[in-house]
Amino acid sequence: MNARNEILFALSEISPKHIRCVTPLLSERPAVTRRSFMKKTAKWTGKIIGTAAAAVIVLGLIFLPGLWQSNTPLQSASPTEDETIHLTLLIESEGTSEFCTNHYPEKYVTEYEKDHPSVEIQIEKLPEDVEEREPVLQRIRTEIMAGKGPDIFLLPTCPVGSDYDLDTGNAYLEPLFQNVEQSMYGEKFLDISQYYDADMELDKEGLNQAVMDGGCVGDARYVLPLRYTVPVALADVSALKERKIDVNSLSSSVESFFSTLVAYGDGSISPQLQSTFFCAFPEIYDYKREKVTLEQEKMTSFINVYREYVALSADCPVFPPDNSKDIEVNRETPLVLDNLGEDVLVLTALSRLSGEETEVIPLNTFDGTLTASVTYWCAVGNSCEHPQEAYDFISHFLSPDFQKDQTALGLGSCPGWPVRTNGFVSTLWNSYKEFHKVDLPKEILELALTDEDFSILQAEIGAVRFETVWDRDMDMALRRRLYDWDAMKPITEDTNTIAQDILDELRWRIQE
């Protein structure tokens, strides 16, 4: 069959949400839409309104002569209800502090509406309270399934309150999208590539291309990453040399990293890694075919090494530190695991002051790929009826001004580095010093840092992922299957069985 016929036949199988937009046409008489009704009646309405307006003006001139002398400025005609474009914006409600991610979106909505009088943006916040949040998540998910839902999403991949205790597994805040990548493949978002490609005002050169491509599936662009991070190890090179630990072997892969530390035999030199599962594997799922691509052999091999490492480092604290006091304490730790962010910046500064040789080692995944994680992103909902306006709105979050202003507030409540990667080290460092100036020693306050001090920003990113709830759950499962945290002793369960169970669980989830 030729292409033409195939297309016309395939139209029967398109998504119901598209069919729904055509069902109003399926009536015996052509429906009189508001548009056609207005067009038909415009002539008469115009005459009536014109006459009435003239009468009002005449009456006004007769009875209210003082009106024209008043100081009230003449306002431009506000758009009628029919002309107003309504957009809904969904954000996280991470408190009300100006350091939170919501401060700027709220401010920007006001500015945007002022500049675009025909657009009205309604903000909805996801509640922070777990009990309040649950029904809201359910409602929005149902709306999305029914082809409705918010027009714009501006969300962290993992809500700030979602951190949980690795040992106890205490509850965490559930994100709206448990797996952003799967949602991209499921076309929960609108493909905005045509708007992005046509956007000549946006300086795309300055954006980290590899990270930006993380929001694409093939040629379709569903998500605009705003911040990202990469797992790193901050190494005190001379201290490691003293212990005869080869720094290069730490950087080649996460498996090699653990093996090296296990071979050294002292877990206390390095604290635990928070998202081991995420950091270990670059590709786990094939969303298109709804399959798990991670092979059991690799999984087993990794678990064997990780099991020994967990046992070795079980009683070490979890990083990262969050204040200068911790940083001082951890100057004594020769190896610090962290993500690209403020803490690494501070430790870099400390090492520069002390003259110690420090290296920020990118922590590569199992196959040696440096995998970035998108931590904050925005997207247009698939049901959005005004995609151009929605894109115009979200593109602002990638602008140099916005990214710089937001960076100046620190990276605290929204982890990750701006996707406009370069040029922010000094901004961030200055804002950090300003915020901590009471605690920090004078020599640190006088220290200037630039991008050149932060070579990790130039590290080649081989893959980009969005951390998922699944990754976190698998982390928890692994840790619980490998170590008895109450009795503080290793569990001797067959590695193959654990690997098989983990993969089965993932297969079940991806097909669910």
């Binding site: 292409a3 395939a10 069919i19 009536s27």
Partner: protein, 186 residues
């Protein structure tokens, strides 16, 4: 009766479900089928086949929205019947004009990559449609999904017929370029 209640009737295996669905949506389904086949008797048979399909599919299927599911089903059945009619050169409805319109952008000799199945093509069409403004989507689907005439579409969308034709031509070209970019046109 709400769609939800109709679906509950299907789940309860009550024949009232078919009566209700026919009463609520029968005319629209009939018109859609007639636009494709050009014959009221054929269209009635297709609507009956659609109701039977609904009876067989629900449960376990729980279509949401119900009308969209019914429209897709009746269109599929009608298009298959149209294929037979066209092979026998026995006419067809307004949708046949759409086939002819497509010829200017998708010539006869243009075929799809052989390994491409219809479902994958439908997903691509979904992506294409998602990129369109609502008005363009209604115009495109009104013409090529529902087989509405240019005159009806112009009236519905408050456009001139000439404007409709020009926009449809642009949309066909856009679709052609999109499918070419996706690499599925040979």
């Amino acid at each position: 009766m709400t769609d939800q209640k109709i679906i509950e009737l299907f789940f309860a295996r009550s024949q009232d479900a078919v009566t209700e669905i026919k009463q609520k949506y029968g005319t629209r389904l009939l018109l859609l089928s007639r636009n494709i086949l050009g014959d009221l008797l054929d269209a009635e048979e297709c609507v009956n086949d659609t109701l039977l399909a609904a009876w067989n599919a629900i449960p376990p299927t729980r279509p949401n929205p119900l009308l969209a599911w019914l429209c897709a089903t009746v269109r599929n059945i009608s298009m298959n019947r149209l294929r037979g009619k066209r092979a026998e050169k026995r006419g067809g409805g307004q949708i046949c004009e759409a086939f002819d319109e497509f010829a200017d952008t998708f010539p006869d000799q243009e075929t799809l990559e052989t390994e491409f199945d219809r479902r994958e093509l439908a997903r691509l069409l979904d992506r294409f449609l998602s990129r369109l403004a609502k008005r363009d989507r209604q115009l495109f689907l009104g013409r090529y999904f529902a087989g509405k005439s240019i005159c009806e579409l112009a009236q519905f969308l408050g456009m001139t017929q000439e404007n409709c034709r020009v926009r449809l031509l642009r949309l066909r070209r856009k679709l052609h370029a999109f499918l070419q970019r996706e690499g599925i046109l040979e």
